[in-house]
Amino acid sequence: MRDFGQTRTVLVQAGRSRRRNGLGLAILLGLPLLANADAVADGSAVPRPGDSTPPVVRHEPIRPLPQRVAGLDIEQVLLGERLFHDPRLSSDLSVSCANCHPVPTAGADGRPVSFGVGGRAGQLNSPTVFNAAYNLSQFWNGRAADLAEQIDGPLHNEVELANDWGSVIAALAQDAPLSARFEKLYGRPWDVAGIKAAIVAYERSLTTPNSPFDRYLRGEATLTAAQSRGYALFKSYGCIACHQGVNVGGNMYARLGSIVNFYIDGRQATDADLGRFKVTGDPEDKYVFKVPSLRLAVSTAPYFHDGSIATLEEAITLMGHYQLGRRIPAADVEALIAFLESLQGDYQRLSR
């Protein structure tokens, strides 16, 4: 008899417990959201177009760069700046990131190809590090999804830094003050994630907002007659189809020579010219590259992925021919350059 009574109680309670469980779980749903809140501090969150941007008055395919990058930790940025210029990242302690991406000269070194450890030459033109965070992927062929992944490329490349993370951390650990700084920031000794996060934070701070063109988009300024004409041509020739968005490029891929084959007229394609094909293995992707940003085009000669084109005039003329099937007269090239000049903004170094 006693056993029977107990069984009944349990049944009743079981019926009720199911409801209670539902309630408890509903409360707990909120917890994962809270756990997510520290993602920003890790530096892994990407910048978003629209961070701290005044209202846009003119709606064009080009959009202004955010005036301030959100979610940056100043200590992390400054550590990143230090590491970005630190030759201990290279195997022979001679080359830093800044060697090929010198910040004072618009984030690119002005050579057709750059030189790494032991003076060894690379295969492709170093793109500017400025505004790189706004590209849809990194490298000319887009093989790195983001800045953190990008760092692994040059670090291991034998003609660039020719190093490995173990050696980097061993070298940096010798530096007591810097190690203390790292530990204070992250609460743990040197590790790859921390180094990457710092460098990424610094790279994200490298933007060039408030260009004349951005100010024009925000209704704060007007363009000169030449710039205005240049932009009209930029649109009418069709440059705008690929070079658009916040970075005036960098958000899609296109084939070099979409109308006229680029690898004729005596040019010989090498392995490095295969572009995105090296990433996807799809024959359709041969000679396909990430469309580069034109934000700092006027200051980052030479041009094209192999740095083979010395002047902006030539680059524009060739683009017209191979990408658009158009002949762009000299006067128009001049106006287009005037427009490109209006895209250059200012870099403001963050400080404490």
């Binding site: 969150a45 658009l324 099937g325």
Partner: protein, 1088 residues
Amino acid sequence: MTSERMTYAVFALAAVAGLLLIAALLNISSLGGASHQTAVSLLGQMRRQQAEVTREVMRVASFRVVQYDDLVELNRELSNLEGRLATLEWFDEPYFIGLVKAYRDSNERRQRLQERVKTLAAMLRNAHYYLPGALQAVERRQDAARLMVLGDYLVRLQRFSLLPGLGERRTIKLGIGAFRADLNLDRPGDQAVAALLDQMDAVIRWSSQLEQAMTDYLAVPIDRALGQLETADQVRFSRESEHLRRFSLVLVVVEVGLFIGLGVAMRRLRIARQRGARAAKRLRDAIESLSEAFALFDGDGRLRMWNRHFKHDFEALGARLTKGLTFAELATFLVQQARFADGEEDPEAALQRVLTHFQQAEQPHVQAMSDGRYLLLTTSTTTDGGRALVGVDISEQKQVEAELRKLSQVVEQSPVSVMLTGRDGVIEYVNPMFERLTGVAAQDATGLTPRMLESEEGEGGVYQALCDSIGSEQTRQGEFQHRRDDGSVCWESVLVSPLRDESGRISHYVALKQDISQRKKDEERLRLAATVFEKSREGLLVTSADNRIKLVNSAFCAITGYRADEVIGKMPSLLSSGRHSAEFYQQMWDTLAGEDHWEGEIWNRRKSGEVYAEWLSVTAIRDDDGHLEEYVAVFSDITQRLAAEEHIRFQANYDALTRLPNRSLLIDRLGTAMAEANRRKKCFAVLFADLDRFKPVNDSLGHQAGDELLRQVAARLSALVRGNDTVARLSGDEFVLILNGLADRDGAAGMAERINRALAQPFDLNGHQVFIGSSVGISVFPGDGDDTATLLRNADMAMYRAKEAGRGTYRFFTEEMDAYITERLELDSDMRLGIEDGQFLLHFQPIVDPRDRRMLGAEALVRWAHPQRGLLGPECFIGLAEETGTIVPLGAWVLRAVCEQGAAWQRAGLLDFSLAVNVSSRQIRGGLSPEDIGAMLRETGFPAARLTLEITESLLLEETPDVIEWLSKVSAQGVRLALDDFGTGYSSLGYLRRFPIDALKIDRVFVSGEEQGQDLPLAEAILAMAHSLRLDVLAEGVEDERQLRFLRERGCHAVQGYLFSPPIPADELVRFHADAGGGAAIPVANSS
């Protein structure tokens, strides 16, 4: 005191227990529940995000997106979500690793296709933007007609790019190809056209690629991949929740205990509260003397006390005004009051608003009462957690406010846009109409200057006018072009006047604006219409209601060749070509009168007199009352297009070689003829004509000669028929005629005879005279078939019968023909049985020396002792055997039988003659090898030198290395080769040198034909030439002494024919041999 302490103790206990409970729940959730919820939520987010990405990609593919940042951003969010997959508890479990990989693979494919879509869409958008301009650039250097075609393809191309369809793609490609073929790169301007065509080609290619990429993109099973993850997670969770349920039982017991404790504590607390409230009573008197309404609520939100002003102000509460009236009830009452006053807000929302208001405290609340009064209510929190409510009557103040609001509502609801700026031009106020007109929200506009509305298109001067008016004393008026927030441009008429304060100083400017975009748009449209009219590449003309030309455009002049001043005031009929009947024009005017519109193809005449086709569209324009005002005609020169269409139509329906209708048009015409015959109760005939000796011509004189022959045949056939009959080329050397309106079968027979006669005449092919002939089969509708296929098949069958009956004849299809086919099939199978059964036997026709009639040899001829039909000659079955291939075993039997017979005679010692056997080309192709022949000779012991193989000319005509090799090998064994039926084919003697031929056999036609007088000289020529080639000549079919003499005199080596003997059995041959100069009796071989 003790009870309160106890209460706190219970509270503390409850709190601790609560924490324990939460900790326990957390513990349980870590078993899977929370992870499951996280997974469900994450997968759901990923699904939504994927859908977002898909949507954006589709927008990209339909060219609606001008920048790709949004898409990049969506992908970034997606990859963030994907990153969180790794935090899920099951992420490392083997089963899920596979599923996650499947998802990632799908996603990677989507990413790749997405990038392709972006690239292609960018290029296509560009091309579509560029092509019309490029066309205009080309325009100046090209003639209008060509351009129109090009323009037409451009429009098709754009349509194709948006809605790709297979047929369209082909048409455009053909069009571009045709255009390109026409280009002359040396001509100025044509290079630009070539570049344009290149771009158009690229657009076609890209469009197809884009469509393919989109198809592939949408086909990626990303939803399935996510769905599998969700299902797997659900299954896993179901397993985990078993654990959970057990845990919760324990928890519930704890929980129940806790809640009982809590209830006891609460009750004690309430008793303590009531005790404290009693003390508050003392306050009442003081409150009663207040000049404002006052009410006090306790911590539980119940009314404890109120004064007379409160009672007065809240008179409407009536009996409800008692102690214990809750705060919520009062709020409900207030909401009801407010509803009486305003009658608007949703009661639920209003109640919430009032409650929130009071809970936040210290916020004055304006309360409208149903009697029209307004109370300003303020609440404040008392020390014991209660609430004091103070109300002041502000009805008078509210009335003044309402007046003001009415005035401002006039402005607010004004249909005119109103903008108020300060003296400095900074916007202080804009009304809703302003917001609607400019698209700028009021809060965005205030604080800015009107400069922000300046459009790019606006001229500096216009804006300057407004600036001038600011600061001036006068009212200014002007028209301005403004830019809306969405970027569109609008026109406004603006009246700006100064606003003065009491002292007469200008304090503000008021700008009243009206949207005149519509008027401006109309003006613009008029201007545009004029431009379109003038620039259109289609000819345009406008006539008055009495059909006098009022207006023409430049394309009209370009197409017709008339200047505008030459045609204004004239009737459009001056263009008429005279090609159309009066009824045609009447119909056109009737349609116009009835439907106000007519369009169609019409032939007109240029000033130069040249007639051209145009596509004309005429529209009658009526005024608002429906009175006819004018006609507008639009036309384009379609001569070229018609020619192109005609060309395509021709290719589809006509045989390129003979320009006769081809099979498809023939079928079509047959269908028409059948319908016509059914309707009119008439009959028609289908004549199937096949050339008798076409292949040899083609083979010997080459394909070009063959083609020429077919052209001449086509010409002769066409000359025979009447206009409504059809001559079509079916294939190769087969022609079909349809004879309409046939009186009787004799008509068809007469035509068949005429055909055979016409084609029996020699043809001249580059100096070669060629004789062919024809056989005709006839089927008649109705009777010989109810559909086109049957009619054709039956005519074909009849033609075969004609061919069998001897060439150069015709046959009607008969019911028996079907039976005939069946019969032949039976005969063929009988034949195969007969070979096995030994039903075949050999007869021999002697071959003799024309000088002394001594027997030189004999030709072996097969006979068939058919069990039912009796003894059959080769003419009854060899043709069928050739057709069905039975000739191969039959021929092999004959050869072996001949060899055996010959060997028997050899053994008997009387074989001083040779034996000839016919070998058909079918046998050789069927596998009769020289080695087989050698083996047969060895096995039977028949000497090769006594064997002659008679081959036909058709074998030599194949002239392949195989044939030459076959002949050489046979010849090398010592077997003689004779060419049978010489003279009927096209073998010229000259080429016989290439073959190891020993003898020629002149066909009986040349020896015993009807018109001997003509053919014998041919035999003479053959003999002369054969001598020069050192070939023996044998003549067959020799029937009388005259022929024999003729042949003998011309040195013919051997003769054969009824003059000497018909084919005879072997034993009779032996006798013949003895009579003709042979010796003893010869034994006869057993040939079975």
